[in-house]
């Protein structure tokens, strides 16, 4: 076997020994053997990882980190040290907490070495409260308590240490001193001495005074019938609990859920109704607006038609003029609504109002005469209705045209409409009293 192989074999042997001791909770012995294992083979990853675990178990977190980080450097792949490191670093602030605990221990040790035992004990109590498995802290507490004569309390710390590390030589030594001091013989009777010895052994073993031991009371042996009876009563109590506690609670839960559903549906229904009302109101409003707009449109269309009609009449007048048909021109002139004729500044230079003005002079002077003649022709032809229409047009151009008004009245008389005829005769008498038509009108009225 070569040198390397022998070294590995020796390393393995020490590792196996260390592992066995670790299983027996002899951590100090395990540490010694694992260190030897690594002295023979630094690449023994299991030995190094186990050494780190033991350090961690004893509260020496930094030493554990050192071993695990070195282990990861020597074997980066498939290494359980990765899991251990991840476990410590996963929870935020955990490493900082460990660091604070170690820092407090170091401060407490400094205080103790400076002679401030009381302050040191206070600091150490805080340390072990946060990490009861911190072996060094528990040992220092035990030593300080022993120094002040508090052997029983020191015994508790030492029991804790030995519970973690059975092979801790320092704890075993301190415990021997504690036992020696607790078991110091006192002059008593033989019976008392025997009892005292038993108590001392108990205290040493448990680390507690007898009065602190918990005693179980109220325990009795049960017979078979009692057991069956107890089971039956248990079942009955269970069934009653289900009936009186679970069922009402479940019913209440279902009822509450049902009520909540109803409230939810009602709320949704209200929302839908509100939306429907809003939509209906909007619809009514829009319908009204549509009606208004339609009316406006009709009015606009009618106005436009009327306006166009006036322009049409003006064109008709001009056409009749061109054809020298003055009678028709006068007819159209009488019915034209001049207010609808407006100029549009479209750059063409054509002015509708100027055209109208140019023809209106002649129409006002001669147009009504032409219309009167047409009325007379109709009157002679006994077409009194047409005659009245012509006379009206002539009167529209010249309202004081008394001859047209008289002939209109005569036309009504010929048609048998005496009332309209008399009204017109009366109007002539009043408006044109000194005219020939007024004299004839009086005659027609029988004045």
């Amino acid at each position: 076997m070569d040198t390397a192989g022998r070294c590995r074999r020796i390393s393995n042997s020490y590792y196996n020994l260390g592992l066995e001791m670790a299983r027996e909770r002899n951590l100090s012995g395990a540490v010694r053997n694992l260190k030897r294992s690594l002295q023979f083979n630094k690449n023994h990853t299991d030995a190094r990882n186990l050494l780190g675990l033991i350090y961690f178990e004893m509260g020496e977190v930094s030493d554990a980190l050192v071993q695990w980080v070195i282990s990861m450097n020597l074997q980066p792949e498939e290494n359980r040290a990765d899991i251990y490191l991840d476990e410590i670093q996963r929870k935020k602030g955990r490493l900082e907490t460990y660091g604070q605990i170690i820092g407090r221990y170091n401060q407490a040790l400094y205080s103790a070495q400076e002679g401030n035992s009381d302050l040191s004990l206070l600091q150490l109590n805080r340390v072990v409260k946060e990490n009861p498995d911190y072996v060094r802290a528990q040992l220092l507490i035990a030593l300080l308590l022993m120094q002040s004569g508090k052997y029983r309390e020191a015994g508790r710390s030492l029991s804790r240490v030995l519970h973690i590390d059975r092979g801790n030589e320092k704890a075993l030594w301190y415990m021997s001193i504690v036992r020696e001091n607790i078991a110091r013989p006192v002059k008593k009777s033989a019976k008392d001495e025997k009892q005292q010895t038993v108590q001392t052994v108990n205290q040493e073993y448990t680390g507690r005074a007898p009065e602190e031991d918990i005693t179980m009371v109220g325990y009795h042996e049960n017979t078979g019938w009692q057991t069956i009876l107890n089971i039956g009563m248990g079942l009955l109590i269970g069934a009653a609990a289900v009936f009186f506690l679970y069922v009402p609670a479940k019913n209440a839960q279902l009822s509450a859920a049902h009520n909540a559903d109803l409230v939810s549906v009602e709320n949704r229904l209200n929302d839908v109704n509100n939306q429907n009302e809003t939509l209906t109101a909007t619809n009514t409003d829009l319908t009204t607006k549509i009606g208004d707009l339609t009316n406006q449109l009709n009015t606009i269309q009618e106005a436009d038609t009327y306006k166009l009609s006036q322009y049409q009449k003006l064109i008709g007048i001009l056409d009749d003029y061109r054809n020298e048909n003055y009678s028709n021109a006068a007819d159209l002139f009488a019915s034209i609504d001049v207010s609808q004729l407006t100029d549009v500044d479209d750059g063409s230079g054509v002015s509708v109002s100027q055209i109208y003005t140019s023809i209106s002079g002649k129409m006002n002077e001669e147009g009504y005469i032409s219309l009167g003649k047409q009325g007379d022709a109709s009157y002679e032809a006994a077409d009194y209705k047409t005659a009245i229409a012509y006379y009206d047009k002539a009167l529209a151009i010249k309202p004081d045209y008394e001859d047209a008004m008289f002939k209109k009245a005569m036309s009504y008389k010929q048609m048998g409409d005496i009332q309209n005829a008399n009204n017109l005769f009366g109007e002539i008498i009043l408006k044109f009293p000194d005219t020939e038509q007024a004299a004839q009108a009086k005659k027609e009225r029988g004045y």
Binding site: C7, F40, E60, S62, E96, G99, Y105, N106, Q147
Partner: protein, 48 residues
Amino acid sequence: MINYDEEIRRFKSSLEVSAVEDEIVKSDLTDMQDIMMEMIRKQAKEQR
């Protein structure tokens, strides 16, 4: 008889978490295999 003051002085401080990095750097990882190999190399050198 235990000398408490002496015993307290023997206690060592724990390694601080902040000092872990320095401790790793300072670690001597030489094992028995390295020592043996070095000895064998020296011996072979001397024989030449």
